[in-house]
Symmetry: C2
Amino acid sequence: MQSAELIFQQSGLKSTASRLEVTAVLAQNNHPLTHQDLLKQLPDSFDRVTLYRVLDWLLQNKVIHRIAGEDRAWRFQLNTSQSNQTKFSYKTILSKSKTFKQHNHAHFQCGDCGKVFCLDNVYPKLTQDIPTDFLVDSIELNIKGKCANCQK
Amino acid sequence: MQSAELIFQQSGLKSTASRLEVTAVLAQNNHPLTHQDLLKQLPDSFDRVTLYRVLDWLLQNKVIHRIAGEDRAWRFQLNTSQSNQTKFSYKTILSKSKTFKQHNHAHFQCGDCGKVFCLDNVYPKLTQDIPTDFLVDSIELNIKGKCANCQK
DNA sequence: ATAAAAATTGCAACTATATTGCATTAGAGG
DNA sequence: CCTCTAATGCAATATAGTTGCAATTTTTAT
């Protein structure tokens, strides 16, 4: 569990009240949250647009990552300190082994409740190399189905 | 190359003028198209909402599949008979009881031009089993980067 | 310490994608 | 041909996200 303050201290990034608030909410949740989810957990006075902009900024500074859900709403989640440390280019990783780490772990999306879970230990391997004329930035593995709770 | 008529004949599904038109456009393109892309290639008179509904229907009847892009617009593509046949690999990957549907090959999404390409021969393998309390329907592998054309 | 410059925030308006309701039309089956 | 159902067309609405701009806050330079 990482505190919002700690993250900004360690990263040397400029923190503001808004950024701290948003980061704190993300730190309290260990699954990806939508913009709506975040708004609900933030003070009522928190501005929608500011939230979008804070999220953009956090994304650009690699404090968080986002994943696209079936409902075409982004979900945001804190990058664990672990994943912040991996700076190798994907190209290198790609060319070497076909295994990926980094923010390329799998996500499970429940079609019923819409929740998204990080499968931190599940990574994709590829059965074949990606054609060389494609320049790869990132790889995303989305597994869809029904979560434990929705199977009851 | 499959003709729209042929698809409906072989599948025994009820065809209408709209469904044939949409299917024909999809058959003429070998990469996933957005709703907009489709509208452009259809007669001007073609209704937006009808297109959405035709696409829904084609989806439900597994004539097409769709993938979510970075721009939160769905992209639709005909299920080739080829990709319908790839049921084998996934069962092995997902050790347990999980049911699986076709079309789990990888997609490459160009961040510049937005085009999506099917990498028909690239499939994911997982480094670990998915936790058993998740019921898996499908697996999606999205690779993002720059396509050959946009690297020039 | 203070003025100027830059970054951040808040609000309103706007865009794009997709969905819903409902009246109308077309097709299938008797 | 008539009836019933499915499909279509149009208008309105919903949802996610973006843009413009003024006001505020923070940083930088003097």
